[in-house]
């Protein structure tokens, strides 16, 4: 690559350590990041990969050790100061102003001005020069409110380039992206590297890392396991390095439900915004996967079934109780629980404790005359949290201290306390690390073995195929295919999800 022998690396970390309170985040980590390379940090949640990215971009400062930029020791006190040295960050949460155009967003704060007014022609010219410098383009007048996340990320990248960034740290840039958006982001990252810029990629998507990175550094418990070229690595070698043990197959073996097991969820002719005329059944002990492209209406269907979204027509039955007007509390009482797609927006109450969040759905059964029985509450939630393997020191801390994987498992614990007959899990492994992902799979399988029916929504086709007994494929709000989970292939699913697209005149 652009690595010239004898030249100092773009960034060198020497014996860097960082503690948060009493917890060790990084211990004596030394890594060299070469100019013009894509360097990935991988590790489980809590391994220290994000902290490492934050030290490079000036968001946090190391306790001990040195950071060298082009061979000179630096100590950034803020991301602003790092940017002055050509180091920019693209965070998970994007800072885009929705009311400003693409060009205005990119040049926000550095607009060409005359007498306090923005010179629009000059702005446009400057914008297109930034675009051509980086090798990809977003229309100057495009409005961010109508953009996909990947396009907005491009704006952030352009913004960094407009400020002469030479090194860009990306923290989980594809966590919120669909598959096709992810591909577009990857093209952007390759374009940056081809320009001789350096990209530090913090990611838990191993396929992405293997696809993009020139060099991979693996972290475990705040220590560097190894840092070396990406070429000889594979998903298996990385996982083994991250976990410190070998990993036996990705999915646990399937056990089909008994043939006479009863239908626990039955949806008939359900239509709502984004959903048209869907009928489906889930039996006890069965995992039904719901696949499809983003925008195919899977989440909308889930929301219509639990009543987060009002159905226009059709009915939902849990067991033998059928209703045409579902609402979340009512469905919960019938035995239907849902784990939402977005933990932060639809799942957790961030300021409340771990115990409170876990008990929320089943508080009534742990209270007497409307008064909560604290001891019963603590005991029940602790049991449920242990059952789903949430590791937390104290349960009276706010739920926001938990890692993504533990938060997700907490939502499982919350629903378990309601003793549901059916569970809808919408993207249950999004944004969680490999270890937590595996334990969520095992949890789903244990629960179905105990007779729970599961409707599993996932954008990860492998996950759907690896877990489901039956796979339903959605397209434009309709169910278009039903496949056998034992025999279907990724190709079958994608074929059904995409089919007719080309043949329908648009």
């Amino acid at each position: 690559m652009a690595h010239e022998p004898g030249r100092a690396p773009h960034v060198e970390l020497r014996e860097v350590s960082k503690h948060f309170g009493g917890a060790r985040a990084l211990e004596s980590v030394s890594i060299k990041i070469e100019t013009g390379s894509v360097h990935a940090f991988v590790g489980e949640n809590g391994a220290g990969k994000s902290t490492l990215g934050k030290i490079i971009s000036g968001v946090v400062a190391q306790d001990r050790g040195e950071v060298l930029l082009h061979g000179t020791p630096v100590r950034f006190r803020s991301p602003r100061e790092a940017l002055d040295h050509g180091v920019a960050t693209i965070a998970q949460e994007l800072a885009i102003v929705p009311e400003l155009s693409a060009a205005e967003n990119v040049l926000l704060g550095v607009e060409p001005r005359a007498f306090g007014l923005i010179r629009h022609r000059e702005l446009r010219r400057k914008y297109s020069s930034v675009c051509s410098a980086v090798g990809f383009e977003v229309p100057a007048e495009a409005m961010p409110s109508r953009m996909r996340t990947a396009e907005q990320q491009k704006l952030e990248i352009l913004r960094a380039i407009a400020r002469n960034a030479e090194l860009i740290v990306m923290d989980e840039p594809s966590a919120a992206l669909t598959r096709e958006e992810m591909q577009r982001l990857h093209e952007s990252i390759r374009a940056l590297r081809d320009q001789g810029r350096t990209v530090v990629l913090v990611s838990h998507f191993l396929d992405e890392v293997l696809d993009l990175a020139d060099t991979i550094s693996v972290l475990r418990d705040g220590r560097l396991v190894r840092s070396g070229p990406a070429a000889p690595e594979s998903e298996r070698t990385l996982i083994e390095a991250m976990l410190g043990r070998s990993f036996d197959g990705t999915f646990p073996p399937k056990e089909p439900p008994p043939t006479d097991s009863p239908v626990v969820l039955s949806v008939e002719g359900l239509s709502a915004f984004g959903v048209s005329d869907v009928s489906l059944d889930v039996r006890a002990g069965e995992i039904v996967g719901l696949a499809g492209l983003v925008g195919a209406g899977r989440t909308e269907l889930a929301q219509a079934i639990v009543g987060m979204r009002r159905p226009r027509s059709g009915t939902v039955a849990v067991g033998d109780r059928r209703t045409g007007r579902p609402y979340p509390r009512g469905m919960l009482q019938l035995g239907l629980a849902m784990i939402p797609e977005s933990r932060k927006e639809d799942g957790l109450i961030p300021d409340r404790s771990i115990t409170d969040n876990t008990a929320l759905s089943s508080l009534a059964s742990r209270s007497r005359f409307g008064v909560v029985r604290p001891r019963a509450e603590r005991r029940a939630t602790a049991t449920a949290l242990r059952q789903v393997d949430v590791r937390a020191g104290r349960h009276d801390l706010p739920v926001s201290v938990l890692s993504g994987g533990n938060q997700q498992k907490l939502l499982f614990a919350r629903t378990l306390l309601c003793e549901p007959a059916v569970l809808i899990a919408d993207e249950p492994t999004r944004g969680v690390d490999v270890g937590a992902r595996r334990s969520i799979y095992e949890l789903l399988i244990t629960l179905t073995r105990q007779g729970l029916g599961v409707l599993l929504i996932s954008s990860d086709v492998e996950e759907v195929l690896g877990l489901s007994h039956r796979v339903l494929v959605m397209r434009s709000g309709r169910l278009v295919a039903e496949l056998d989970g034992l025999t279907a292939t990724e190709h079958d699913v994608l074929d059904a999800a995409f089919r007719d697209r080309a043949s329908i005149p648009s």
């Binding site: 957790l348 961030p350 300021d351 409170d356 008990a359 508080l363």
Partner: protein, 332 residues
């Protein structure tokens, strides 16, 4: 041996809890207003002779009855994700209604109807902010105009006085164990609302509704119902405050509560309940209201220029909100 163990267990738990309580007290973010309150209390006790007397302290609390009661209920509204700016208007209408009815009918009926008027307005507030989805700030501002207007219409803009039926004065002017009835009433209401918020399932639902309404709904909380209840309690509490005060002075005026909404809100926020919903506690609002009252009392007793009282209150309010914003920032 067994006995020693059995005794050792609970003792250890107790000392652990005591340590945690001490730590929380000195954790600025958690204790918030409590430490400044204690400091001010001690300072006033030292500098002003008459301050630390039973009569003065009981008087402060009794004077704050009509602020403490709506502040306790208003805490529930804020925690549940709403805000109630109509408490002053309701206070005025309830006072006028009660004074009128005391004149025409019986004191008991006056008190009952006065309070029911507040319950009614509270229910309306709850309905329009949930079912009709109008922003609570604007909705309760609007109802406060309507309510004040109704009160003015009913009185023709005059003060209603009633010196002829002394029974009505029993609410505020009698004593039990040499503490005023209105003070006892305040204590009961504050403790009941505090218990409701901290210990009941509905209280938990209020925190959830204010912390993340969407998530609460999906978790099976009836967010609308919980918020309507909070508004209904707030209206009822404001009305009780109005009835108590009109019983105290045996007169009432539609505009008498014109600044009450802001005093109540200031007390709640200074206490450390978040204006953004989801966090807070009734005891905090009690301390907040009393803290503001202590400042006023201190200015009186020390003979300071009351103009500075307003300035210090304003600065205090900014500090309280700033502290809330700051803790949210560092938690991220």
């Amino acid at each position: 041996m067994n006995v020693a163990e059995a005794e050792g267990g609970p003792q250890q738990v107790f000392s652990g809890r005591a340590v945690a309580a001490m730590r929380d007290l000195f954790d600025l973010r958690r204790s918030g207003i409590l430490l400044p309150f204690i400091a001010l209390f001690i300072a006033l006790s030292v500098t002003s002779g008459p301050f630390f007397s039973r009569a003065n302290l009981l008087n402060i609390v009794d004077q704050q009855a009509s602020t403490l009661i709506p502040a306790a209920a208003g805490t529930l509204v804020l925690v549940a994700g709403g805000i109630d700016l109509s408490v002053g208007a309701v206070y005025g209408l309830a006072g006028v209604t009660a004074a009128h009815l005391a004149l025409l009918a019986s004191p008991a009926l006056a008190i009952l109807v006065g309070i029911l008027v507040g319950l009614g307005v509270g229910l309306v507030n709850g309905l329009i902010t949930t079912v009709f989805r109008i922003n609570p700030l604007i909705a309760t501002l609007a109802t406060s105009y309507v309510v004040t207007g109704i009160a003015s219409l009913a009185t023709g803009g005059n003060i209603v006085t009633d010196f002829t039926h002394p029974g009505f004065a029993d609410l505020a002017r009698t004593s039990f164990l040499s503490v005023k009835t209105s003070t006892w009433l305040t204590l009961v209401v504050v403790v009941a609302l505090g218990f409701l918020l901290a210990r009941s399932t509905v209280g938990r639902y209020m925190y959830a509704a204010g912390g993340n309404a969407q998530a609460a709904r999906l978790a099976g909380v009836r967010v609308y119902r919980v918020r309507i209840l909070a508004f209904a309690l707030s209206g009822t509490a404001a009305a009780l405050g109005g009835v108590i005060d009109s019983s105290r002075v045996l007169s009432a005026q539609s505009s008498s509560g014109s600044t009450l909404a802001f005093t109540v809100l200031a007390g709640i926020v200074v206490g450390g309940t978040s204006i953004l919903g989801g966090t807070g506690a009734v005891w905090r609002s009690v301390v907040g209201v009393l803290f503001i009252a202590l400042i006023g009392n201190g200015f009186d007793l020390l003979g300071l220029d009351p103009l500075y009282e307003q300035i210090s209150l304003g600065v205090l309010l900014l500090l309280a909100v700033g502290l809330d914003a700051w803790t949210r920032l560092i938690r991220q």
